[in-house]
């Protein structure tokens, strides 16, 4: 008589943000620091792409809420923080900061490029994503973007690895957890992202897909 030992099925567990895959769910705790649409909500991991910042790979998680809200998130394993980024469309960015200030941000000669928020122009939904004052901390830095999950493959040394080059600027907000990122692509398209950073402890649950 032969006895076959039933092999236990390997079950994925997710211990931290860096281990998320497409299809996983992330539930966030109720936190004042988190904007509406994130605080106390569950998000689905929609995509995993990657940034190459000066040879350092950073996974970029696309998260979607049932309401349609789409944010991206990056994870800092050293600080154990998550930075959520929400895209601000051009009409809105001009409305809340003004064209003149924005022009100063792109001028590398400017020593103290700053952005002051026009508080009255900010919508209720946007308020939690921005703070009143930003200072540029990085100007015209170079990076690459992969529209795929590169966590297994890593960064390639070849030019034809599918990555797309872009230039970016970073701004630090007057509060501890606000920042902004501006990405300028080769075709001239410019994207503005309002960012909110929270500790990973703001995550209530990781629910992995099978």
């Amino acid at each position: 008589m032969f006895f076959r030992k039933k092999e236990s099925e390997a079950v994925r567990t997710v211990e931290n943000f860096a281990q998320l895959h497409v299809g996983d769910l992330v539930t966030l705790k109720f936190r004042e620091a988190l904007p509406e649409g994130l605080s106390g909500e569950t998000l689905t991991v929609d995509s995993v792409n990657a940034y190459d910042y000066a040879g350092s790979l950073m996974a970029d998680f696309g998260l979607r809420h049932a309401s349609g809200l789409y944010v991206s998130a990056t994870y800092d394993p050293i600080e154990q923080t998550i930075t959520f980024a929400h895209k601000i469309k051009h009409p809105e960015i001009i409305e809340i900061f003004g064209g003149d200030q924005l022009a100063g941000i792109f001028d590398p000669q400017s020593d103290s490029a700053v952005l002051d928020l026009r508080v009255d122009e900010v919508s209720e939904q946007r308020k939690a994503w921005v703070c009143e004052h930003y200072t540029r901390t990085l100007c015209e830095a170079q990076a690459y973007y992969y529209e795929e999950d590169r966590r297994e493959k890593g960064i390639s040394a070849y030019d034809d690895d599918g990555s797309v080059p872009f230039t970016y600027h970073e701004l630090e907000g007057c509060s501890d957890n606000h920042s902004m990122s501006i990405e300028v692509w080769e075709d001239g398209e410019t994207e503005f992202f309002a960012e909110v950073t929270v500790a990973e402890s703001a995550v209530d649950a990781f629910l992995p897909s099978s």
């Binding site: 236990s8 099925e9 079950v11 994925r12 567990t13 996983d24 769910l25 539930t27 569950t42 689905t44 049932a66 309401s67 349609g68 649950a205 629910l207 992995p208 897909s209 099978s210």
Partner: protein, 226 residues
């Protein structure tokens, strides 16, 4: 049902604190295995909870879409009424009623599923805390076992009541005795050396006519005459 089954296997891992009782290594192996199975059960339960939550999200999304549809059809119904087209407005109102029923059903399903998943997730968290506690107890038991093994090994290496200890003691005594002999000999040699040194001195004094050692015949006669 599979969620409950996985939770039950997680519950199996619950034990009482063993304290400093005599360690049974077989019991520890079994406990280790139970903790592993419990963790596996929790991992499977978490995936099942995720699937339920995904269903809840699907109903949430459906509800939001239906809300948008209802808003649009309501605007259309008002438009039809403004045009005086009551028949059309009535047909649109029927559609709005259907959508509203669908939305109510979606809301109810989403709420039920959310409540269930929240409840199950709370149970999972409690089990995880219990397993963590059991893991710590198991580590303590492993430490006690190691301490016991060490004590046995030390006792075997250092016998306290048999002839072995006595032999060691006798050997140490012999060494001590030899050491003492050496020291005594060194003292004697020194004494002799000193003695010889004094004899040289005495001779020198005698030669110089300054010796006070020894009694001369003249001294004795002087005393006798006294």
């Amino acid at each position: 049902m599979s969620i409950l089954k996985n939770l039950f296997s997680a519950i199996k891992g619950n034990i009482n604190t063993a304290g400093e009782a005599i360690v049974d290594s077989q019991a520890m192996t079994i406990l280790d295995q139970e903790i592993r199975e419990a963790k596996d059960g929790i991992a499977k339960a978490t995936v099942s909870i995720r699937n339920l939550k995904a269903q809840a999200i699907k109903f949430d999304k459906q509800s939001l879409e239906l809300a948008e549809d209802i808003k649009e059809y309501t605007a259309k119904a008002k438009g039809a009424l403004d045009q005086g087209n009551e028949d059309l407005a009535r047909k649109v109102a029927v559609k709005i009623a259907e959508l509203t029923d669908e939305k109510t059903s979606a809301d109810s399903q989403a709420q039920d599923l959310t409540e269930q998943t929240d409840r199950l997730y709370k149970i999972v968290k409690e089990r995880e805390a219990s397993i963590e506690k059991n893991k710590i107890e198991l580590e303590k038991l492993k430490t006690y076992e190691q301490v016991q093994k060490t004590q046995v090994a030390v006792a075997a290496a250092m016998p306290s009541n048999d002839s072995g200890a006595k032999r060691v003691q006798r050997a140490m005594d012999r060494v001590k005795s030899r050491q003492q002999d050496v020291e005594n000999k060194m003292d004697a040699d020194k004494w002799l050396a000193d003695l010889e040194g004094d004899a040289d001195l005495d001779k020198a004094l005698t030669d110089a006519g300054l010796s006070s050692s020894g009694t001369s015949a003249d001294d004795i006669l002087s005393k006798l005459k006294g």
